[in-house]
Symmetry: C5
Subunit: 89 residues, 5 copies
């Protein structure tokens, strides 16, 4: 999984029907010093994250597991909201 910050959301009225009722958030991946790194991604959210929160997200088919048995065509999903994370040593 990767660490990111929720930086926005998307509105799409024309989309694959499997997405109806599912929240889509824009997440900016973060580097080790918490700086933005790489392209933002659009993730499905199953944990109720909000803009500004630090989260960890999963890539690949696993992103749709929390929505089972609905088969969402998702490749990125927020699976946890970080209370804190420490990078030591």
């Amino acid at each position: 999984m990767q660490i990111g910050r929720v930086i926005g959301d998307v509105v799409a009225t024309r989309k694959d029907p499997a997405y109806h009722g599912i929240t889509l958030l824009v997440v900016q991946p973060l580097g080790a010093s918490r700086e933005p790194q790489g392209r933002p991604i659009v993730a499905v959210d199953s944990v109720g994250a909000g803009v500004g929160e630090h989260v960890f997200f999963v890539r690949g088919k696993e992103a749709s597991f929390p929505f089972h048995p609905t088969e969402v065509a998702a490749d990125a999903g927020i699976v946890g909201i970080l209370d804190h994370w420490t990078v030591g040593e």
Copy 2:
């Protein structure tokens, strides 16, 4: 998923038969400031996107879900057309 802009299309008469009748579009992934970032990809389209539109697309096997039960050998698919997306904070 990732955000991109449809920038073109491809014509291929010799291709895997599973692609027949399926629209293939060239999508340029975008960064947080909506600038082009990374290589363009060729995506299957199930939502009727057109050149110039902003879309979000999915990578991996999930790209073929909207065409089920046809098994398309696709690893990228447009699954939504963006009305707008906001990147705040």
Copy 3:
């Protein structure tokens, strides 16, 4: 899928038996201006591509779909030869 140009081939006598009889080509991925971008990949070919041709290829397990029911341990496969591709706007 991604756009690339076939730039060579590989010869490997010691390989996983599932590859026997399958053509392996070296493909250079291309950027939006058709310049080489990123590492070349080795792809299985099911459409009869040749050196110098522009193709589109698929990554991941989907690369083996055209060889079904043979289970090829492939993660990249040429699935179409481009007649032309336009990148506008």
Copy 4:
């Protein structure tokens, strides 16, 4: 798989229920000269790794194999602790 060093951990009380009781560690991927390279990732741990240890980790759905039959929505997992690794020639 990739080589990395465990550099921290994460605390997340709001997360996908499948993660309960599973250790999440922050791993920094390493380059050939053992220098940090690329973004840190959050990995599930099935081998008891600790901060400071060199490990190898797997990406993708395979990360959840050691937790079978639990279906963890994980895309990165530590699968071994390195005693040593040599890069010669």
Copy 5:
């Protein structure tokens, strides 16, 4: 698949039990001019490759196919040793 050179090996006594008896090699991916490019990866080996040899390897779940029916949590596997590869035009 990608082209690489075997540059070392790893020793790990604490690891996922599915790896027991399986050779793990460090492979450096190569660019079009055969220069090192990107992070080294740790790959399972089913073809008997040795340090210094040029190989092609597969990413993803496909890496475990040659070990079937053993379910190895591997995302990279050497599937062929290159006799030679030509990059022309």
